[in-house]
């Protein structure tokens, strides 16, 4: 594109002279180009480095069958064996309970913002609060649930309390992506529906939401990926269990992040240390899979941001 500025042979007027930019400008331009490409490479390096570390240290256990089928019950750091089944169950279960609350609330909130209250003061207030919510540190969300459920209501620590804390973190992700998608739904579709006498609520449920469905799914996937990797609520609200436990109300439950956290202090030569990295690899795999899925859904979507 810079060629436009420097070389042109079509001009015939004598006084117009097309010169290359002066030396200083050319050098500055070259430096800037080098800088932006260096910055890009510099960004990719840590990702590659982290992935390399985790994959080389964790791949051996991931490929064994028992990693996916067994728990850590009765296995000490000095012993080989066992798997991450208990932690995967816990992570998935807590994330699903969280999603069961956060997804309807997030979608309804977005419907409120776009379909009902667009442009009103109330909508601006809600939107501001969503921004604040999306910036709340996970530890603060966890402390809030701790204060509410454990100190005030007097319940014990439990996996379901973790799910509630995760709701605070997943809600803004789902809401924002749904909102963006609802904005993209063409108004003609809504008007066509109204013209046929379909009530507004039915228009939203049967026309607007199905049209925006893929975008909403993308948001849900990204939200799930985020909450599955969260550690702070797990530390505060539930104890780590090495055995398989399906009950969300019990006070102990395994999860991949706490599996990593509880084993990270072990000496590198112990078998338990390798399991920490294998758990890390499992967690990355789940998170990346959800992200790729989100991207694939977004790509298949008919609604495109333009």
């Amino acid at each position: 594109m810079s060629a436009m500025t420097t070389t042109t042979s079509t001009s015939t007027d004598a006084p117009l002279s097309f010169r290359r930019p002066s030396g200083g400008r050319t050098i500055k331009n070259a430096l800037a180009t080098v800088y932006v490409f260096l910055a890009t490479v510099l960004t990719i390096v840590p990702l590659a480095w982290v992935l390399y570390t985790v994959i080389t240290k964790g791949i051996r256990l991931i490929l064994t069958q028992q990693w996916w089928l067994q728990s850590q019950r009765g296995i000490t750091p000095r012993r080989e064996g066992g798997g991450a089944y208990h932690a995967i169950v816990g992570t998935v279960e807590m994330a699903l309970i969280c999603a069961a609350i956060a997804v309807p609330l997030g979608i309804l909130g977005a419907i409120f913002l776009i379909e009902y209250a667009k442009g009103t003061k109330l909508a601006r207030g809600v939107s501001f609060m969503v921004d604040i919510l999306s910036g709340i540190p996970s530890i603060v969300a966890a402390l809030f649930i701790y204060a509410l459920f454990i100190t005030i209501f007097g319940f014990g620590r439990s996996a379901i309390a973790v799910s509630f804390a995760l709701v605070l973190l997943m809600l803004p992700v789902v809401l924002r992506s749904t909102e963006e998608m609802l904005k993209l739904v063409p108004n003609e579709l809504r008007e066509a529906s109204y013209a046929l006498g379909v009530p507004k609520w039915k228009t939203i449920l049967r026309v607007v939401i199905p049209t925006a469905f893929s975008g909403i799914m993308t948001g849900i996937m990204l939200g799930l990926a985020r909450v599955m990797g969260e550690t702070a609520p797990l530390l505060i609200l539930v104890s780590y269990a090495v055995g398989i436990n399906f009950s969300p109300t019990s006070d102990t439950m395994g999860a991949l992040p706490t599996m990593i956290n509880s084993g990270r202090d072990q000496a590198p030569q112990l078998p338990g240390y390798e399991r920490v990295w294998a758990a890390a690899l499992t967690l990355i795999l789940i998170s990346m899979l959800l992200n790729l899925l989100a991207r694939a859904i977004a790509r298949a979507s008919k609604l495109k941001e333009k």
Binding site: A32, V140, G197, P257, I284, S287
Partner: protein, 372 residues
């Protein structure tokens, strides 16, 4: 997954489908208007309330069907409740944290804001946040200083330098960085990056150690510096993504005007792209800062906690504790209400600080107008 246009067309032909619809039904003359040769208008309240009067006075012979509005009212109420619930949720977070922190704050023997002491077990409460505040802000600001220049470079590269076909995959890779859970960054920072950076940190400390900020390191591996580098990597995708979106919106006219004046590509960036995207970049940086301030587990794993009684060191090569790491480190010991209250007070400060930072980001973004 429904395809949008078929969904709309499906609703165009069948009148019976609408007639069967229970929500439309309990109207007198509802069914007959469907078969009436006279064009009928089915008025619909929520979509066009101001036009209803007009329609009511409209030509004779036009029959208006009454539509039940129960469904609409309920759905509207549901959506509004969800919206209000979010507002209440954020307010509740502040109120509950404050309510539980107050008793401990009142029993506090030290000055909460200026003390670096943290004695919360036993009957005597004496705690202050000065030390936590310093480590939190130092690590986050350092992370921001490292992250923003790189993020702006990447965003420029993606929007102004790379061809569209190449920038797609590259920005996907940058986004993947955000998919790595923070505990894994912590683990990697502690075991891989920390030892890698240690010789450099030792060298800097030996050369300019007379500056308090770089004074001789106490713990080269678990230092604030390593934590800041990891935080910088963690906020990089957020800052990059927002900057990229803002730069991509630079009006084509501005860029072409600069080109027509003979600007080099860098001059185009400097005169057209950067001024247009400045508020967006600042707002993105604030969001990144908010994320860095509240990051818990990565910082907790990396930072070495100084043994009790260690003199305070302002150096970036020393260990320390941030608000979040302090709370998480002691989560297992929330036994007495007064002790819990002290940690909740620290969490409250973190909440207020991140609230302020995020609100600033929002205001800057709104003022800048570079947002779509």
């Amino acid at each position: 997954m429904a395809v949008p246009d078929t969904d709309a067309t499906r609703r165009v032909e069948p009148a019976p489908a609408a007639a069967e619809d229970p929500s439309l039904s309990p109207a007198e003359g509802h069914v007959e208007h469907m078969h009436s040769p006279v064009p009928t208008v089915v008025h619909h309240r929520p979509s066009a309330p101001e036009k209803i009067d007009q329609v009511d006075r409209a030509p004779r012979g036009v029959k208006l069907a009454k539509i039940s509005q129960t469904g609409d009212r309920m759905f509207r109420a549901l959506a509004t409740t969800a919206g209000l619930a979010i507002v209440l949720l954020v307010l509740f977070i502040g109120i509950f944290l404050l309510a539980l922190a107050l008793p401990s704050l009142q029993a506090n023997q030290d000055n909460f804001l200026t003390s670096r002491n943290w004695t919360v077990s036993g009957t005597e409460l004496a705690f202050g946040i000065a030390g936590l505040f310093w480590t939190t802000v130092l690590s986050s600001v350092l992370a921001l200083a490292m992250s923003v220049p790189v993020a702006v470079g990447v965003a420029l590269c993606l929007t102004q330098y790379l061809h569209k076909r190449a920038s797609g995959p590259v920005s996907f890779v940058v986004d993947l960085l955000a998919a790595v859970p923070s505990i894994i960054f912590g683990l990697w920072g502690l075991t891989v990056l920390g030892p890698f950076l240690a010789p450099g940190a030792e060298w800097v400390a030996s050369k300019v150690g007379w500056i308090p900020l770089f004074s001789e390191n106490i713990d080269p591996k678990g230092s604030v510096f390593v934590a800041a580098v990891v935080l910088a990597i963690m906020i990089l995708p957020i800052v990059t993504a927002i900057s990229r979106d803002v730069f991509a919106q630079t009006p084509r006219d501005h860029i072409e005007a600069a080109l027509s004046l003979g600007a080099t590509r860098w001059e185009v960036v400097r005169t057209a792209v950067l001024p247009y995207g400045r508020s967006g970049v600042i707002s993105a940086s604030m969001l990144g800062l908010g994320r860095a301030l509240g990051e818990t587990i990565a910082v907790m794993i990396i930072l070495s906690t100084p043994a009790p009684g260690t003199p305070f060191s302002p150096s970036i090569f020393a260990g320390g504790e941030t608000f979040a790491s302090k709370i998480a480190n002691n989560a297992a010991e929330f036994d007495t209400p007064s002790k819990t209250g002290a940690f909740i007070a620290a969490g409250l400060v973190l909440f207020i600080v991140t609230f302020a930072v995020n609100a600033t980001a929002r205001v800057i973004a709104d003022r800048g107008g570079a947002k779509s």
